[in-house]
Amino acid sequence: MKLSFSQADEKFREEVAQWLNDNLVEEFAQLKFRGGPGDEHMFPDERKKWEAKLAQGGWIGIAWPKEYGGRGCSIEQQVIFNEEYARAGAPGRVGHIGEGLTGPTLIAFGSEAQKQRYLPGIISGNDLWCQGYSEPGAGSDLSNVRTKAVFDESMGKWLITGQKVWTSLAHESDYIFVIARTDPGSKGHKGLGFFLLNMDQPGIEVRGIKQLTGASEFNEVFFDNAECDEQDIVGKPGEGWSVAMGLLGFERGASTLGQQMQFQNELNELIVAAKNNGTHKDPMIRQRIANAHIGLKIMRYNSLRMLSGNGDDGSLQKEALIYKLFWATWHRDLGELAMDVIGPEAEILSATPYELTRMQALYLFVRSDTIYGGTNEIQRNIIAERGLGMPKDIRPTL
């Protein structure tokens, strides 16, 4: 067990920092610290150009194997890249779903044709992806998917009909991956398929959802006989759930370190606000700021443990199981602390009709953190069942 990075890794750190310093300028300078959660609807076009810039530098898919156009970076280098990326204030990625979810899923489960067709577009920063999982009736109970997929022999295509919801960046995306029911009589996680669809077609309609922040980062996506090529089902019909679950496994990783650097930026801003208005002398506020700092520090240590593999237990990574519940709850608390630090001034909008300050956006947006990607309640079920071997809950849809 040791914490220091090798000299080669430190050199890599310098390389990353230098590249960001050289490239996050001119038209991209305005993107600094923008486009993160709660701000994801901002500067979509500029951020798409930024993806292309990143691709030029070879910074997309750094964790991917070299044979698929990635860099094959070590865990340490991924940690370093994500830390430096966030430290430089580089913008929230619009390509993160393709890079972090679609790509690894296709590399693990996709056919050779699918890899050749889709991976280059992701690595070049050209193709943006979104994720079609949740439905109005399938939130926490994700396997209760109603969207249907029917194979049309005459067209040689899958036809998808139904509705997805909470699809972030759907209005900016070129492609979507969707889980849909291939076996009409099936229930729960059986009888599902995993499909890759082009968003630019008449059978797909995207409508923004106005959130309590007043902005629209999430969407509803309606499918009315949307077409999917025969070869664009990942795995076999009926295997969609295992592909979808495999994909969720890719969601945790080195990118958590980058997320934490964003949190650090928010905490730094909050500390500055406290020093400016004198609340940093309030003993209660001091305790809470210290507590936030402690939580964020440990979040980093927990990620390092997660990334170093399961040396201490062999099979089960307990520190990974608790991670979502921990960061989501921490972030929600940070939002509340921000309001208490700023005081009455926290009420005042940045502009009409409903333009929020950064701290207001933080405060309001974090209410979604403990809901999306598995609510705190679902996380606790998972921890208790998988981490502690406690009896499973009743699941009527199974």
Partner: protein, 385 residues
């Protein structure tokens, strides 16, 4: 960077676990609890002479194994998990650490080999009647007289103070306060003028003493570090001990979780094991979260402590890492132990079940070396002033 255990470290953990599960049974713990002495001499001797745990991180030149703080923390976590009653913490985490950090070469040569042999126990006395844990805690007064030092004062809450062979004592010059004027001495616990009195405690698994120094005279050879300028050394000793305490806390937090999961899986109400109810599962999940988060903090702090001994680049983080770990683990262990009583229901309230032993240890360790609020305050001072 490799933030996971090596094969050797995993072996140390497994060995510690199997030894402690044999010698630190509920029966053994309760025997130790009931005595003023506080531990089983035979087991302690077995640990020292056969296992050599107390010599873990002491360099080989002084008879130790020369392993690291990570190895030490691995053992401490297990000791906390098994509620092991022994003078290990006082001798190693206070005594040996103080000698390593502040001792002269002669002092190290004199005392560390005896600790490694298992023939000497030690402790640290610094807190007076104020019950503080920072520099202001030191209120024993030292004066110089004819090349000798004379100490007068009262120490409270001294771990194993009534049984230790040697006391590392902090004292200050008259008319000084806070971090100025503090000196450290290594003193024979039976020296003339030293009166030691056992303090009965609510947590009976860790023993404390009240010590009075009445004109205790020591030679210049007893002085550790620079006279009247020892706070920086004492601060580091306390940070190292704080990390050690947090490690014990994580072990305890894990154990009350284990007990709770096992019990709720067995306990049947309304026709099913209560572990199947979400109200129970969700509390257990929160207990696991606190345990794992605390563990991440402790392992990181252990690495920083190791860097401190090695003169590594993270040495400067010692105080912060200690406070991060201790604040989280103190409150996490306490919450876990309280929840464990709740989820055990009526039997959790009995003397017979062991849950209350952990609940009491959680509180005593939360207070010792500064509670959660104290360590958050230390962090706030770094961030906000």
């Amino acid at each position: 960077m490799e933030f996971s255990f090596t094969e050797e470290q995993l072996m140390i953990r497994d060995t510690a676990q199997s030894f402690l599960s044999e010698v630190s049974t509920s029966f053994a713990i309760r025997n130790a609890m009931g005595s003023e002495h506080g531990f089983d001499d035979n087991v302690w001797q077995q640990l020292c002479t056969q296992m050599g745990w107390q010599a873990t991180h002491i360099p080989e030149e002084y008879g130790g194994f020369g392993l690291g703080y990570v190895e030490l923390v691995i053992m401490l976590e297990q000791m906390g998990q098994y509620l092991f009653c022994s003078p290990f913490f006082s001798t190693v985490c206070l005594g040996a650490n103080a000698l390593l950090v502040a001792g002269s070469e002669a002092q190290k040569q004199q005392y560390l080999p005896q600790i490694c042999e298992g023939s000497l126990t030690a402790t640290l006395a610094y807190t007076g009647r104020s019950g503080a844990w920072d520099a202001s805690a030191v209120d024993t007064i030292v004066s110089v007289k004819d090349n000798e030092y004379v100490l007068n004062g009262v120490y409270r809450y001294v771990p194993d103070g009534h049984t230790a062979d040697v006391i590392i004592a902090a004292a200050r010059n008259a008319d000084t306060s806070e971090q100025s004027g503090i000196s450290l001495f290594v003193i024979d616990a039976n020296a003339k003028g030293v009166t030691r009195e056992y303090l009965p405690t609510m947590d009976q698994t860790k023993k404390q003493a009240h010590i009075v120094f009445d004109n205790v005279v020591v030679s210049e050879h007893a002085l550790m570090g620079e006279y009247a300028n020892a706070w920086p050394l004492l601060d580091k000793i306390l940070n190292l001990a704080t990390i050690a305490t947090a490690a014990e806390q994580v072990g305890g937090a894990q154990q009350v979780l284990n007990m709770t999961v096992a019990y709720t899986k067995e306990r049947v109400q309304f026709g099913r094991a209560i572990a199947g109810f979400q109200a129970v599962k969700h509390q257990a999940a929160d207990m696991m979260l606190r345990t794992e988060v605390g563990r991440s903090a402790v392992y990181y702090a252990a690495c920083v402590a190791q860097e401190f001994f090695d003169g590594g680049s993270l040495s400067g983080e010692l105080g912060e890492a200690a406070s991060v770990a201790k604040s989280y683990c103190s409150d996490g262990y306490f919450k876990n132990a309280g929840d464990a009583i709740q989820l055990h229901g009526g039997v959790g309230f009995t003397w017979e079940y062991d849950v209350h032993l952990y609940f009491k240890r959680a509180k005593s360790s939360q207070v010792f070396l500064g509670n959660g609020a104290y360590h958050r305050d230390r962090i706030a001072n770094i961030l906000l002033d």
